[in-house]
């Protein structure tokens, strides 16, 4: 009896530790980011960081405006989302409503395979295959540009959009679909007038998670986008994203503890805040619709 109680409490403690681990890690990351970022903001004003239009921490005339990096991130993410969101949703609708069971059994694992490819492979695929392909269409396109990694990134997050949207569509009660059919809907009408509107909460949440994934994606943009901070929304120009900048500094010979070194924590903090915001919005949307 006593032994069983002891075993119970040991298991309980172990499980509690596992559960709290993720919270500790997150808190640790925030603290580490925060301390180093504070060191950065002792030298650079928040105003300059947010509103200067140039990012040149490695040049002799140093400017610390994060806008070009944010613009690069938004540009590549937007291109990726233009591909991933509509295609992902259509794939989900197809898999959930139109594909026959045998076909579905083949397609799903293939789609998941797409999600399992290391992003560095996608990066070189963008640089060495997609960019030359695009150049045959647009000969003016530079070797490094936002378009190619953006497109490839779109295909990388497509499986995630598809699988999350499919979950959302699947959670629509069968009764609603039957009601739509009984009202004389064709399958397409059922999908667009009832199924998708009813699953909108889950689909929106999936879209926002995909956004957050695109914003945080590193390898593809570091390899194929050009690592040149440009404040532009022109998809054909080379850009640098926040993540790619962090990679650039981490790989270089920037001495530990210098201001240049600390920039990556300021950028990292910014990235963290953006993805945190997106994830929270996604969480809120999902909760709101679940209660409706």
């Amino acid at each position: 009896m006593q032994r069983r109680k002891l075993a119970e409490s040991i298991i309980y403690c172990l499980l509690f530790l596992c559960g709290s681990l993720s919270i500790f890690v997150t808190t640790g990351i925030v603290i580490a980011l925060g301390i180093e970022a504070l060191g950065f903001f002792e030298h650079v004003s928040l105003w300059e960081f947010l509103f200067d239009t140039e990012w040149t921490p490695l040049f002799s005339i140093k400017r610390f405006g994060i806008a070009p990096l944010v613009a690069g991130t938004l540009l590549t993410s937007a291109i990726a989302l233009i591909i991933a969101l509509p295609l992902g949703l259509l794939v989900a609708v197809y898999l959930g409503e139109f594909a026959s069971e045998p076909l579905r059994r083949v397609l799903r694992p293939i789609l998941e395979l797409l999600a399992g490819i290391p992003t560095i492979v996608y990066g070189y695929f963008a640089l060495l295959f997609v960019t030359p392909l695009l150049q045959t269409l647009f000969p003016e396109l530079p070797g490094f540009n936002a378009l190619s990694p953006g497109l490839v990134m779109g295909f990388m997050i497509l499986p995630m959009v598809a699988s999350l949207s499919e979950d959302a569509l699947y959670s629509v009660p069968q009764g609603l679909k039957e009601a739509a059919y009984a009202m004389g809907c064709t399958r397409l009408q059922m999908v667009f007038k009832v199924l998708i509107p009813s699953a909108l909460g889950g689909i929106t949440a999936a879209f926002i998670l995909a956004m957050s994934r695109a914003v945080g994606e590193t390898m593809i943009v570091a390899i194929a986008a050009g690592q040149q901070p440009n404040l532009t929304l022109d998809p054909t120009s080379p850009v640098e994203t926040m993540t790619a900048y962090i990679v650039q500094i981490s790989l270089g010979d920037t001495p530990h503890g210098t201001l240049e070194y600390r920039t990556i924590f300021a950028v990292g903090l910014m990235l963290f805040l953006i993805t945190l915001l997106l994830n929270s919005v996604s969480f809120m949307i999902r909760n709101r619709y679940r209660n409706a």
């Binding site: 026959s100 039957e178 009601a179 009984a182 009202m183 004389g184 064709t186 009408q189 509107p197 409706a292």
Partner: protein, 279 residues
């Protein structure tokens, strides 16, 4: 748009209520639905065996029988709702107004406009009350706002819900009570002006008061529609229906005048079921 007259709701509701009672349902009345030798299969499992029966217009027919006896399956063959389930097949014939609804050239969409359906679990769309009712007419291409408003009001009046919701038409249908939601679903089915109304245990999830409302409503709708209702509730079948069909293990055991079925059934199985000896 040529389909427009189809959206006009019959307005003689008060005058003709129960007027059809005078016309004795003899062989002179042409059946609305004629079912002949219907067999139905889910994959290899046969769910219906050789069903033949005629359903008369402006009458309520109740389908009764223990769970799994095939009554819901039968109901769903009448608007081809079973089509959406993979691996089903059927043989035999179902004719509505003389047209074979399983003929290759039958348009399922047109069929379902003629044959409305109300489900066991109320299933309003997560939209406003107005949008729920306007859904069907919109699917059939009606865009005129005034006409839609007219239809929404008439359908809600007919489903006896108008008084309760007329000031909140543009609020979510999901905020209605269970009984109101079910009447909303009836109104939604009526909005495309069907001739036949299929009801699959429409009151089984409702409290007695809401159930009574639904039953009254069936009585009122009877004079305009051919109603087929599946129910587990014997008293309900006795109260609302003119004819009763008793299904057992996929076969139609007995079909006839409700009063006769409940007072002097011909078959032993029917009597046992009605008196609660099994099922």
């Amino acid at each position: 748009m040529s389909a427009e007259p189809a959206f006009q709701i019959k307005t003689d509701m008060n005058t003709s209520f129960r007027a059809a009672d005078n016309a004795e349902p003899t062989a002179a009345v042409e059946p609305k639905i004629k079912v002949e030798n219907l067999n139905f299969f889910y994959g290899n499992h046969q769910a219906l065996y050789n069903i033949s029966l005629n359903l008369l217009p402006q009458r309520v027919t109740a389908l009764i029988g223990p769970s799994g006896c095939g009554k819901s399956t039968f109901l769903r063959t009448l608007n081809r709702m079973n089509d959406i389930i993979p691996g089903v097949r059927l043989n035999g014939e179902i004719r509505i107004d003389g047209n074979d609804i399983y003929a290759p050239n039958t348009d399922v969409v047109t069929l379902r406009k003629e044959v409305g359906m109300v489900f066991q679990k109320s299933n309003p769309f997560p939209k406003t009350i107005f949008e729920n009712i306007a859904f069907g007419p919109r699917v059939y291409g009606l865009k005129d706002r005034t006409k839609l408003e007219e239809i929404v009001e008439k359908s809600l009046v007919r489903a006896d819900l108008w008084k309760e919701v007329k000031d909140r038409l543009h609020t979510s249908a999901l905020d209605l009570s269970g009984g109101q939601q079910q009447r909303l679903c009836i109104a939604r089915a009526l909005a495309v002006d069907p001739e036949i109304l299929l009801m699959d245990e429409p009151a089984s999830a409702l409290d007695p008061r809401s159930t009574a409302k639904i039953e009254d409503l069936i009585g009122e709708l009877r004079s305009h529609y051919t109603i087929v209702i599946v129910t587990h509730n014997m008293q309900q079948a006795a109260r609302v229906s003119d004819y009763t069909a008793f299904f057992y293990e996929g076969s139609l055991v007995e079909f006839g005048d409700t009063r006769e079925i409940f007072t002097k059934p011909r078959e032993r199985q029917t009597e046992d079921y009605i008196t609660g000896r099994f099922g």
